[in-house]
Symmetry: C2
Subunit: 352 residues, 2 copies
């Protein structure tokens, strides 16, 4: 069996962490008898030079043939105009392929310091609408300026999109500690986040075995600091999920270690939460843990969809290899270590 | 000289913490030779019973004659319909009186545990527009449902409102550590939060002595955990300010201790960040620190506006009295103590 995987390295530290994740996953899959077929595609600043766009049409066309993609960070604020002012390519990918769910676990890694060592969360972030106006129009943009001094943004919540993200959250809770917290701000954004809340509670009725409660997003931010262990799965709209997932990641150790996938029902994109970190790029300082973890989660997704135990085992092995490498004291400078990105990667592969 | 102050006790623990704040401020002002004239007005659940509305027209009319108001928490989710589904009265007050700035300091109290003991922030939150759709319409609501399955919310950023909130932030920074961080999400909400960012940087030019930088709201949430001491004043739109101020308050010790004022150029409303806490109401368990601190900040505002040193001294004395009372071990149960709300209040007054 062959597993085709598209690889978009991206900018900055992408050129360092993505190859580590690919090498580790290659090994983990091979150990299970699965042959991965990696296809690199033009993306990011390099693609502006070679193809005139950070996300060339050729890349989008090719990607349509892949169910699994590994996507590195982009540094879109440093792109030349007009690309700098266009939506970031990572966001365009989510929209183009209808990757409506962004799943972001937050859990401390044994042996590493954490503000909230007992946090063990899965944030299920709606990725296709909400207050992210750029997602909300089939044609045109959800923001506009009627005069140069007035800007408007249209937030959107639909029953259909809320139902499918709520399904993801409740289904995930069944495989975890069976508890979903719906995060909204329905005391102010009464109709939009109110609809989100109401539909989530309707979906909850199909999962009588899962406990459901709710929090306002402001209180939720404080509660993640005060009593993080009380929460299991959070389900929320796009912007709240963006903020809370960065917060939860930092509480669990470091934003730099946070992994994530974006998925539809059939397609998955591994994408670390961190950015391109141009300040440390090219010097072997980057921590590949987030990227490797993201690829492991993407393999989980593929394994669940195809009931493929070998791919599931490879994902599990990747996570175990991260833990073993950290435990062996192989750490990049962000964790106070002196290993390079490549040394971390070599150790990972050796463990695998 | 008499200083007229309106008092809206509100719901739940309001009936306990507001009287403590009034008694302490009365004493602090009297010690400076200032006679406060306190006028209680109907507000909250009690006003539904007596006047048919949590914010009766009579209260609004009376309030127009006051520059300083002390407002307790409301428990609007427990109001009978239709009041439960109406905008919360505390938010209506902000809109009605054009209280466009919400100032929320976050600083640890000496001797009390804090996740971030070195945090010392002022969050300057725009209070009149932004993603808070309920603020954004002169007529009607900024949210609507074209079909029962689709809800839209209109976010708004204007040059005028951004200029005046930025002025508040930069002026405040001059009295602090001279550093403003503009918090936005202009990589996604490009036009709205982009306009906010751009106007803040324009205003920054009038304050060459103040250092200015910027963060995306998601990164900001993580940075408040990672290196809180690096920030002085944050200026941001309504929703981001709501979330970040709860987070910062919790990091500085507890959301329950966080004070805040809402103000226009001429009017100020003291309003603690915490809610009505109906679960502990009426039992003497409530911590009045946030309410007393909010009244102190309101007195600061009044003192600055009228260049009144006696009122400024009273505000300073209130803060010193909180510190002295906590240092004397008089603490309510939320801080692990066994003092009642009233005992804390009595000690405050004795110190003053
Ligand atoms: C880069 C940015 C557009 C993106 C987002 O806001 O979704 C990022 O912050 C994330 O969370 O993946
Ligand atoms: C009660 C609620 C409407 C209010 C807000 O969101 O502004 C509160 O959370 C606050 O921060 O003062």
């Amino acid at each position: 069996m062959t597993l085709p995987i598209a690889v978009l390295e991206g900018d900055g530290i992408g050129a360092e962490v993505v190859p580590v994740a690919v090498a580790a996953a290659e090994r983990a899959l091979a150990a299970q008898g699965v042959r991965a077929q990696w296809t690199p595609l033009p993306y990011g600043a390099a693609a502006i030079d070679s193809h005139g766009s950070p996300l060339p049409p050729e890349t989008l066309t090719e990607l349509a043939g892949f169910d699994v993609m590994v996507v590195g960070p982009h540094d879109s604020v440093s792109y030349p105009l007009p690309h700098r002012d266009a939506p970031p390519p990572g966001a365009v990918l989510r929209k183009h392929f209808g990757l409506y769910a962004n799943l972001r676990p937050a859990q401390a890694i044994a042996g590493l310091p954490a503000t909230a060592p007992d946090i063990d969360l899965l944030i299920v972030r709606e990725n296709s609408e909400g207050l992210y106006a750029d997602r909300n129009m089939a044609v045109g943009s959800g923001e506009f300026m009627p005069t140069p001094d007035v800007a408007l943004a249209v937030g959107l919540v639909t029953r259909a999109a809320t139902e499918r993200i709520a399904e993801q959250a409740f289904a995930a809770a069944r495989t975890r500690r069976g508890h979903v917290t719906v995060v909204h701000k329905a005391n102010v954004l009464r109709l939009t986040t109110g609809l989100f809340r109401d539909v989530c509670f309707e979906v909850a009725q199909r999962y009588p075995d899962v406990r459901v409660d709710q929090q306002h997003v402001d209180a939720m931010a404080a509660l993640l600091v005060r009593r993080p262990a009380d929460f299991d799965v959070l389900v929320t709209e796009n912007l709240f999920g963006d903020i809370l997932s960065d917060l939860a990641a930092e509480l669990s150790g470091s934003l730099g270690l946070a992994s994530s996938i974006n998925c539809s029902d059939t397609r998955v994109m591994a994408q670390a939460v961190h950015g391109a970190a141009p300040d440390i790029a090219g010097r072997g300082l980057a921590d590949p843990i987030a990227m490797v973890g993201s690829v492991a989660s993407a393999l989980d997704f593929h394994a669940a969809r195809h009931r493929d135990r070998r791919v599931a085992a490879a994902a599990e092995a990747l996570r175990a290899a991260i833990a073993a490498t950290v435990a062996a004291g192989i750490r990049t400078p962000d964790l106070g270590g002196s290993s390079s990105t490549a040394e971390f990667g070599d150790h990972l592969v050796a463990v695998l």
